[in-house]
Amino acid sequence: MLMYITRRVLQLIPLLLVISFVSFGIYQLSPGDPVKAYAPREMMKHPEQLERLRRQLGLDKPWYVQYYRWMERTVQGDLGRSMITGQPVLDRFKLAIPNTLKMTVTAWVISFALAIIVGVVSATRRYTLVDSASTIFSFAGISVPSFFLGILLMLLFAVKLKWLPSIGMYTPGKEGDFWDGVIHMIMPVTALAVTEIAATSRYVRSSLLEVLKMDYIRTARSKGLSERIVTYKHALRNSLMPVVTFLGLNMASFVSGALVIENLFAWPGMGRVTIQAVFQQDYPMVMAANLIFAFLTVVGNLIADIMYAVVDPRVKFS
């Protein structure tokens, strides 16, 4: 087991290398001059000062030398400084990452649980009213953009009914209060989870229907076991195995979803920091954001893989 995890972790290295290379490549392709963007305005009139700055920043070197130096620092945990605030990049993200995780992990867990319930209910009551309702729900759920759903929720629950606070993580002055935090999470988490529930519940449904056709299910039924035991004890467990993989792959869409939803609900997470950095063309921040987003996705996939290995006894660890 430990070997298996180690091997999977080692496989992440080429992936992170590719991502770093891609995001570095984009920077090289960009038409702007980073020195001019970085330099204070009055320096523009003095080309020799600009050149000195360029040398200080190491931007006069060929791209592979720059890449190597950047990687060297990154591996040591130094992601550079923000070009706008001069703060170390990691300091900005250190505050934001837990906030993003709080929202995405909650949405992930809730969508997994609800998707299983919806999927099982519609598979066991196939072609009934409940099943049709869940089909309609899933069509609507995959079609509605998360930000539009968020806007609708905001209009209804914050503007019209005034039941829920529209933005932020806490009411000012109540930071850290548990219930206040929960209330602020309801809308963003719902907006983030609905699409995933819609897609995953379909997947659970078809996977369960597939398993229910298997021979061993017929055997279990002919033994005289009740339908309840057959479904929940024999069929459900096996049908959930592929779903676990699906959830791992979904981590990427949760991460992207968080980017959008944080923007809408003014949630002080990674997404907000990233969008701001993108608008300010703050290159070190954007590059770090790409790395962190990729890292989170990859860790999500890894957790799903390990979960899969735990659930499925057929997976060999060697």
Partner: protein, 308 residues
């Protein structure tokens, strides 16, 4: 395949065999498709949407950029007293007719949807068929690359590209395409691998058919049904990606209207003028729904394994 289920009334000996086979295939497809109410609904909705996009200058009550600053953020149904014009869906923050902008916005959405899907399909087909057809180390390398690219979160990457390289509409379509071909490649590879196992490929090989002939004559037609379904759903996803990017303010830039950037322009007017946010959002939602209905119906109607 499908022809075996219902023999054509015409004898296969009469007339060109291929065309009569094609007709039967189309007829079976249409019969199945027609029965699916949701798919027909989706198809109809899309026909309307396409017509609106093509005939935008005729359909739109006003020019998309014509503004009247004394009529900013007016509610749906407001009548402009100087021109006598009714703003059916209200006006936006510059006093432009919201309906007209929505109508022109459909052009952007559909163009981005189709062109970036074209890019993704082309790349996916090339990589997937190379991997599936040749197998061995080529397959191994290509699929490892696909694996790696699939686990890169696309949205931050797209934001980075558009922020630093530029955000022209062509670049947007291109980058949405090149960040979404991996699924196509996997699909094509898988299909080819399974088709390659079948007897008729073996027979073609035994008769000495060259690679290119096997590929285009024997494999390609069998890929069609999975690709068409995938492409339909992919157009919807690409439209959503464009809308998301534009909603974040990084995609299509105003004054060119896109459903996404209309939401971006009005994100602060949610309380004052909710219609400026609701209608563009609804436009995205309804057209995505139409594509999903159609895609689902196509999948059922084209699946050769399903018997009637």
């Amino acid at each position: 395949m499908a022809t075996a289920e219902k023999p054509d009334t015409q004898s296969p000996l009469q007339g060109p065999a291929a065309s009569s086979q094609e007709q039967t295939w189309l007829r079976i497809f249409w019969r199945r498709f027609r029965k699916n109410k949701l798919a027909m609904l989706g198809g109809t909705m899309l026909l309307i949407l396409f017509s609106i996009a093509i005939f935008a200058p005729v359909v739109a009550p006003q020019d998309r950029d014509e503004l009247d600053l004394s009529y900013r953020l007016k509610a749906p149904g407001t009548v402009n007293e100087t021109t006598g014009q009714t703003y059916i869906l209200g006006t936006d923050t510059y006093g432009r007719d919201l309906l007209s902008r929505l109508i022109y916005g459909s052009r952007i959405s559909l163009t981005v949807g189709f062109i970036s899907t074209g890019v993704a399909l082309t790349m996916g087909l090339l990589v997937g068929s190379a991997a599936g057809f040749y197998g061995g180390w080529i397959d191994n390398i290509l699929m490892r690359i696909v694996d790696v690219l699939l686990s890169i979160p696309t949205l931050p990457l797209l934001l980075t590209i558009l922020a630093f390289v530029g955000n022209s509409i062509w670049l947007i379509m291109f980058v949405i395409g090149i960040t979404s071909w991996m699924g196509v490649a996997r699909l094509v590879r898988g299909e080819i691998l399974s088709i390659k196992q079948r007897d008729f490929i073996e027979a073609a090989r035994a008769m000495g058919a060259p690679d290119a002939r096997i590929m285009f004559r024997h494999i390609a037609p069998n890929l069609f049904h999975v690709l068409i379904v995938n492409a339909t759903l992919r157009v919807a996803t690409a439209m959503l990606t464009e809308a998301t990017l534009s909603y974040l303010g990084i995609g299509v830039q105003p004054p060119t209207p896109s459903w996404g950037n209309m939401l971006y322009e009005h994100q602060n007017y949610l309380r004052m003028a909710p219609w400026t946010d609701i209608y563009p959002g609804l436009a995205i939602f309804v057209s995505m729904l139409a594509f999903y209905f159609l895609g689902d119906g196509l999948r059922d109607a084209l699946d050769p394994r399903l018997k009637e």
